[in-house]
């Protein structure tokens, strides 16, 4: 075994330098033990990124195992770049969600853009063609000076990248809350399709197989970027940790997509992985590790954007749009041909070995020689202490006089959290690839799978307010909302991916929030029998010691046997009857209403998962039986808002009226949230069957509503509003806040 050399000008490696790299004393000692010597400066850098929270999942891994990852549809669970489920007719859906929070806070356009680029690569690295993206965004309040800037930058970045690579952004969610003033969240989801049996893997095999570098040249971008930034608390002040910003090149990404998918067809690709966080280091060591093999790299062959990069910089660079491929011996020429066709070059930079070591040469000398396992499986694994925080003093009830129902409805429709997000999604190409049956603006997006009748329903949801009150119930409620969203479109929930955004895991109360969140996802996922096949953890979402509320972001993929049976949220036939079906009484705790008109209650009652599932199944059956004209999931703003939204049919608005049972607690029933509730419209003849079907399933059905031609919304004696006016409020609110025409 060759002993790696220190390079001229490298600082001496000791505990202090290790600490500066975010490694603890114990971790540094463990590295020396694993190596049987002190690492070189280059090796220290490599360990620091591979053992970072972001790459090693050292605080989360043992808890993530709790989540159900198996199911008869699951073809690939956690462990690869993305998960995959069988959606029928020989197609696999490959999907994952990932965070790019800190980079987006530092530079919103490029941060968000490169977040999209990264998740796309996780998908096509599996051999799947990316067919849809979603984005989950959390910003501070509109009063905060940076919010407008961050919002427009992030949205432009997501559109700028997604539009240019030709992957439609079909859904998303956006929330504004002061809790995110100093730490926004940008979570990006992507789904791809691949034929069964054509799935690629990131598991190296074949001793002697060549290793190819494809894509953009390597520069100094984001050294210690994703890894360190996402693994240590971010101080707006500490410039030191600010990496050189990664700039995305969606044009090169588009070429990479086409070239990699064409190359995949040749069968000459043994393994492939994007160079994401910790770039060349993680992709090479993880591929070797999964295959139980070793790998050798020659940095002199790595294409560089500028001269003079050190091995340390080349190994840690997070330059975008780069892929690492293990090719079948003797077939390199064939692959080179394809990449050249797409104006890219494939460069052979190394080979697979059998000695289970990760060996790197530069200038003819060995600069790193590390057991692969030391970078992957033997990375630290922590069981950090977890403890609930001391119960916060219950928030004081505001004495502000409660608004009238009409005032409340108008205020809610004007609230950025409830108002139309058109200003955002009209900046996204949501129709390219000709699969978008239902685009942004509804409960779930619906895609058709070409050449079949099958459809996919996609949604992404989160509920930080509920999670702040109870991290377990909040997570359960989030999964339920996402599942009911796809069911409302007529799709059966089939798979879940999640992005777990939390504070500093070294603080017991944060670790407790995290574990309770994972438990909540586990229980709800089991209830819906929807396995969690992929995800991502983002810790250290804190600034100056203040953590964001626990924010597990849940994306659910649902299946429709026939996309023609998809249901939209809009009332479409005057005279249809309106039914409200729900799993329980809504509550004002954690509702948008409470956030506007003062805290009201801080306890979340239990959620009946059996009923939640019954609701989902009832909705799917009803859609398949063609019994319903529309179905809208009640979420932010509660029932009254959902009724109004159901009336805003783009093909022509309609009206609705709903009678209220006597002794009805107006605020709670009309504006409460937190229990799955849907607003259905259906012709008279199917209403009896529907009511009976849902009641026998133990669900509460409220009748007494109908769809009207006159465009007014009438609810009992408390609301009688002109819907065109309401729609104006709903549509103008966001552009108004942003100061756009």
């Amino acid at each position: 075994m060759s002993r790696p050399v220190a390079l001229p000008g490298e600082p001496p490696v000791d505990h202090d330098l290790a600490a500066a790299h975010g490694l603890t004393r114990d971790e540094f000692d463990r590295i020396r033990a694993l190596l049987g010597r002190t690492p070189t400066y280059t090796e220290l850098g490599v360990f620091s990124v591979m053992w970072s929270e972001h790459c090693s999942y050292k605080s989360s891994r043992r808890h993530l195992r709790m989540m159900p990852a198996r199911g008869e549809r699951v073809v690939q669970g956690p462990g690869e770049n993305a998960g995959a489920i069988d959606v029928g007719d020989g197609w696999l859906a490959v999907f994952k969600i990932e965070s790019h929070n800190h980079p987006s806070f530092v530079e919103p356009y490029q941060g968000a853009a490169t977040g999209v680029g990264g998740i796309l690569r996780d998908i096509f690295t599996m051999g799947a063609r990316p067919v849809a993206s979603m984005d989950s965004l959390k910003f501070g309040s509109f009063d905060h000076p940076r919010t407008r800037y961050l919002l427009s930058g992030v949205v432009a970045g997501i559109g700028g990248y997604g539009n240019c690579v030709g992957v439609p952004t079909v859904a998303g969610e956006t929330m504004f809350d002061p809790a995110y003033n100093a730490n926004i969240l940008v979570n990006a989801f992507c789904l791809g399709l691949v034929r069964r049996g054509e799935l690629l893997s990131a598991r190296a095999s074949g001793v002697g197989n060549p290793v190819l570098y494809v894509g953009s040249a390597t520069g100094r971008d984001g050294i210690h970027g994703a890894s360190l930034l996402a693994s240590a608390e971010f101080h707006a002040t500490s410039e030191s940790k600010r990496p050189t910003v990664q700039v995305g090149d969606p044009f090169t990404e588009k070429l990479l997509i086409e070239a990699c998918l064409e190359a995949a067809k040749t069968g000459a690709i043994v393994a492939i992985q994007d160079m994401g966080a910790a770039g060349l280091t993680s992709s090479s060591s993880e591929m070797a590790g999964r295959g139980g093999l070793g790998i050798e790299l020659d940095l002199d062959r790595v294409p560089l954007r500028e001269p003079g990069l050190t091995p340390y910089e080349i190994l840690l660079s997070e330059s975008q749009e780069r892929m690492l491929i293990v090719a079948a011996r003797g077939r390199v020429g064939e692959l080179e041909g394809i990449f050249t066709k797409w104006d890219l070059h494939a460069v052979e930079i190394g080979r697979i070995t059998d000695d289970r070591r990760w060996r790197v040469r530069a200038g003819g000398k060995v600069v790193a020689d590390i057991p692969v396992a030391a970078l992957t499986d033997d990375a630290p694994l922590y069981d950090r202490p977890a403890a609930p925080p001391p119960k916060p003093a219950t928030a004081p009830r505001t004495t502000a006089a409660a608004p009238s129902a009409s005032e409340a409805l108008r205020a809610l429709l004007a609230s950025p959290n409830v108002a139309s997000k058109r200003w955002i999604f009209r900046q996204y190409d949501s129709i390219v690839q000709s699969n978008t049956v239902v685009g942004p603006g509804g409960d779930a997006a619906v895609l058709r799978i070409k050449g079949t009748h099958r459809g996919l329903a996609l949604t992404v949801d989160s509920n930080p307010r509920a999670c702040a009150i109870d991290p377990y119930l909040g997570a359960v409620a989030t999964v339920c909302e996402a599942a009911i969203n796809v069911a409302a479109a007529g799709a059966r929930p089939a798979g879940i991916t999640n992005c777990l955004n939390y504070g500093n895991p070294e603080r017991p109360e944060i670790m407790w929030q995290f574990i309770r969140g994972v438990e909540g996802i586990r229980d709800a996922a089991l209830a819906f029998d929807a396995p969690v096949v992929s995800g991502n953890v983002s810790f250290y979402n804190e600034t100056e010691g203040r953590a964001i509320p626990p924010t597990p972001t849940i994306a659910v993929v649902g299946l429709l046997d026939d996309f023609h049976q998809r249901v939209t949220q809009f009332f479409s036939h005057p005279g249809d009857l309106v039914l409200i079906v729900r799993t329980g009484r809504p509550q004002l705790a954690a509702s948008e209403y409470a956030s506007l008109f003062g805290p009201d209650g801080d306890a979340l009652g239990p959620i009946d998962l059996a009923r939640e599932r019954a609701l989902a199944e009832g909705l799917v059956d009803a859609a398949q039986a063609g019994l319903i004209s529309s179905c809208h999931d009640v979420s932010d703003g509660g029932l009254a808002v959902a009724l109004a939204e159901a009336c805003f049919n783009p093909e022509g608005p309609l009206g609705a009226e709903l009678a209220l049972a006597p002794g009805f607690d107006t605020a709670r029933e009309l504006f409460g949230e937190g229990r799955s509730t849907v607003v259905l419209s259906a012709p008279l003849e199917s209403v009896v069957r529907l009511t009976e079907r849902f009641r026998t399933a133990g669900l509460e059905v409220i009748a007494g509503g109908r769809v009207t031609r006159p465009t007014r919304l009438r609810i009992g004696s408390v609301i009688d509003e002109d819907l065109l006016e309401l729609r104006e409020i709903y549509e103008r609110a966001l552009p108004g806040r942003i100061g756009d025409r």
């Binding site: 690579v165 030709g166 090149d249 969606p250 044009f251 070429l255 104006d343 190409d429 000709s434 699969n435």
Partner: protein
């Protein structure tokens, strides 16, 4: 008839156009590679939407130099039918096969939405299947669709009927509110003087199926099929 759909590096709607032509309309359509010279015997060549060469510098400015563009210029010179959709329209303008240029939307942001268009001249190979003044609902999705041309040129184009599509409101009347990108004279699609080259910002290929944005886009493809006889 036989169609050719060009793929430039960064083309995006090439596959969607092929899907609409082959799967929806049952046409024969071949994919043309930008580095080739051959047009594969196509009777109509479509330059699709997308971000050729990343739209770097100016939309269409770099793609216009692809080898296949020489063949397309020759083909158009011989009276062959050429249609540019969105980025294809931008390329045709940069290549001087169509008058005018397309610049940043008035709002400076990308816009994806369905708009209403009025057929201004139904006596052309690209619009003959539509009625004069017929309203079509088609999607747009672009950041640089603001059409400009010298005033004098615009006047002559209008006289000759080279403006084929205009953005209008639901009432069929052009208005500032109904003009999504601020195009001069609400122009959405234009033809050359010979009426064998057509460019439009809206996407007919994305309005070819009832479940996906309606079928108004078929009018355009139908017209071309009729013309090719």
């Amino acid at each position: 008839m036989k169609w050719g759909v060009v793929t430039f590096p960064g083309s995006l709607d090439d596959r969607d156009t092929l899907h609409a032509l082959r799967e929806v309309m049952g046409q024969e359509a071949v994919s043309l590679w930008h580095k080739d010279q051959s047009l594969g015997g196509a009777q109509c060549v479509v330059l699709p939407g997308g971000f050729s060469y990343g739209d770097y510098l100016r939309c269409g400015a770099i793609a216009r130099f692809s080898p296949i563009m020489r063949s397309i210029a020759r083909f158009a010179g011989d009276g062959g039918l050429v249609m540019g959709i969105c980025n294809g329209f931008q390329i045709l303008c940069e290549a001087h096969l169509l008058p005018g240029a397309l610049t940043r939307n008035r709002s400076l942001s990308f816009i994806c939405e369905r708009v209403t268009l009025r057929v201004e001249n139904s006596h052309t190979p690209f619009t003959r299947a539509a009625r004069q003044g017929e309203l079509l609902r088609l999607p747009i999705k672009h950041g640089e669709g603001l059409y400009v041309a010298p005033e004098e040129e615009l006047r002559q184009m209008e006289e000759r009927g080279q403006v084929l599509l205009r953005y209008v409101g639901a009432d069929g009347v052009p208005s500032d509110a109904a003009n999504p990108n601020g195009s001069t004279r609400a122009i959405a699609g234009v033809a050359n003087q010979r009426f064998n080259v057509f460019g439009l910002m809206p996407h007919p290929e994305h309005a070819a199926e009832p479940m996906l944005g309606g079928e108004d886009g078929l009018r355009i493809f139908q017209s071309i099929i009729e013309s090719a006889g």
